[in-house]
Symmetry: C2
Subunit: 328 residues, 2 copies
């Protein structure tokens, strides 16, 4: 039943519902099935029933461990023993280091020099070997390619990889399987791995659910790309949401053009206010990227703007993507 929701769409992606189910089986013994929390006060503010999938409470502090463990545990023994390499502003880095440690293989991690110290420490604590690079998208990929050439390690791209996307899809799959009759799901978008997975995971369970990406105004490449139909680069990344500074890849762009129902932009001020609100009201620590996925629901007319059915209170899922922040 659910399978047909996705498998009717040929050509956009090789990821089928079965791919996601297999990913879920593969990573289930490794990762947390994170709780879905609700908050009466946030429901009142949004005028909707909100269901928060708490990937901030996930191992390594973000959803990234889902994709990383799916990718690394998909490798053949031959591939795995050469080790893995990746580039990431932080959460994917920690996840690859952690999953590689579980599999017992080396992990080389390329991180921008301005990555938050807490994320660098996490990578090191999991046994990852960090190489710092300039904080530019191009520098990351070049450095990773050099390490790959030198070591023979397998590249675990943070989002331009079907195994990663299928792994990230399991968060929405769990959410939709746990919470009945969701009308919409919101997730942050950066390179598009989580949002692509959320589209496939959510619509695989419930074909009618609408999926929206949420993006900082100051890193709005997904918004511009989907609006123009042409993949747009993100040159500057001056946002507090340090997890959302990457750009879509052709692979994720294709999935989002087909399945995403819209991209919602969020101001820096909204991100800060939402961050504080969630800490205060929900008693959970989220990072700015997570706040980006809730902020559009808290503004005047925010839920109405999603174009959901009006015959009852809307039921909206929010993927709180991570909780890795520097503590004061």
């Amino acid at each position: 039943m659910a399978a047909s929701n996705l498998n009717a769409q040929k050509g956009v992606t090789a990821i089928t519902w079965e791919t996601i189910v297999e990913a879920h089986e593969r990573i289930r013994p490794l990762v947390h099935r994170t709780p879905v929390l609700t908050s009466t006060s946030l429901n009142e503010m949004a005028g909707a029933s909100l269901f928060f999938k708490c990937e901030n409470l996930q191992k390594t502090g973000s959803f990234k461990i889902r994709g990383a463990s799916n990718a690394i545990f998909s490798l053949s023994a031959e591939e795995a023993k050469r080790g893995v390499v990746t580039h990431s502003s932080g959460n994917h880095a920690a996840a690859v280091a952690r999953a590689a440690g579980w599999r017992g293989v080396p992990a080389w991690i390329v991180m921008p020099k301005n990555a938050p110290a807490v994320k660098c420490r996490a990578v090191e604590s999991y046994g990852g070997k960090i190489t710092y690079c300039e904080p530019k998208v191009s520098a990351r990929a070049e450095t990773a390619a050099r390490i790959q050439a030198e070591t023979g390690a397998v590249l675990i791209h943070p989002y331009d990889d079907d195994r990663i996307i299928a792994g990230q899809a399991t968060a929405a799959k769990e959410l939709l399987e746990e919470v009945a009759e969701l009308d919409a799901v919101l997730a942050p978008v950066s390179g598009g791995g989580l949002l692509s997975g959320t589209c496939l995971g959510a619509k695989g369970v419930r074909g009618t659910v609408r999926v929206f990406g949420c993006e900082p105004e100051r890193a709005d490449d997904a918004y511009r790309s989907l609006k123009t139909g042409v993949l747009q680069p993100q040159e500057t990344t001056d946002t507090i949401a340090d997890g959302l500074r990457a750009s879509l890849a052709p692979r994720t762009f294709a999935i989002l053009r087909k399945y995403a129902d819209g991209i919602l932009l969020v101001s820096e001020e909204e991100i800060r206010a939402t961050l504080r609100l969630v800490w205060q009201r929900m008693k959970i620590v989220i990072e700015p990227s997570s706040a980006v996925a809730l902020a559009p629901l808290l503004r005047e007319g925010g839920v109405a703007a999603l174009g959901l059915p009006h015959d009852r209170m809307a039921r909206v899922g929010v993927i709180l993507s991570g909780g890795n922040v520097e503590m004061g």
Copy 2:
């Protein structure tokens, strides 16, 4: 089966297993069934498998809503319409205001002048009417008695009340019903409502589980009372754990003498370090009182000091009692 664990102990308390089951049925539609979280890194630090019952994620931000809603929804229509009155340093106050609001009756709340502002705002947001008093145990009770005399409101004592204790017991009941084969449960102790309930709720499910209270060194009346066998007052309350400044009542003292397996004392430094650790590693916001229940497990030899069976890794539950802190 479970009932016999408690009902064999006559005379200590009128609370039976059936009382707790009825309380659970009564409050189930009102409160969250809070998640039980685990953390690999905290397990490694403790050398045990820890299971955190997250009452910081409970409605009103603490376990107190369990007892308050059980008490207030136990009132006859005649009693309820006169309204309720209580005194509390914060979390019980918010819970009584919230539960009274649900029942549609007035709530008069006596709070010490030095109660955290966030807790006062919470009471007001739920519609509670605050009367401030001097920050002394005696002043609270006197002020509440005066209001009770003036209004005819029913006193909902924060812990010297079987309906409160039975409500608080439902947190441990849920934990023990969800997590198999727990060897021990730790909970903070102040007036003893939560710890009494934890003893009855946990041992009602599993008779062999050991239950420990955790208390700041600077508010150690429960420790001194159980050690000497004579109820000891707490005169000074100079601890960061603002929720743990009350003293045992004869009612809770009697239950703890029978059922508690020990009281563990915690320094202010340990409370601060644990607070920070939980925010960083578990990505949840806890208040100092919650940290008190974890701190004894993180010190050298902490788990060994519990005297648990040695034939396997110990399995220890921790009641994280609340998450109401001032945000910087």
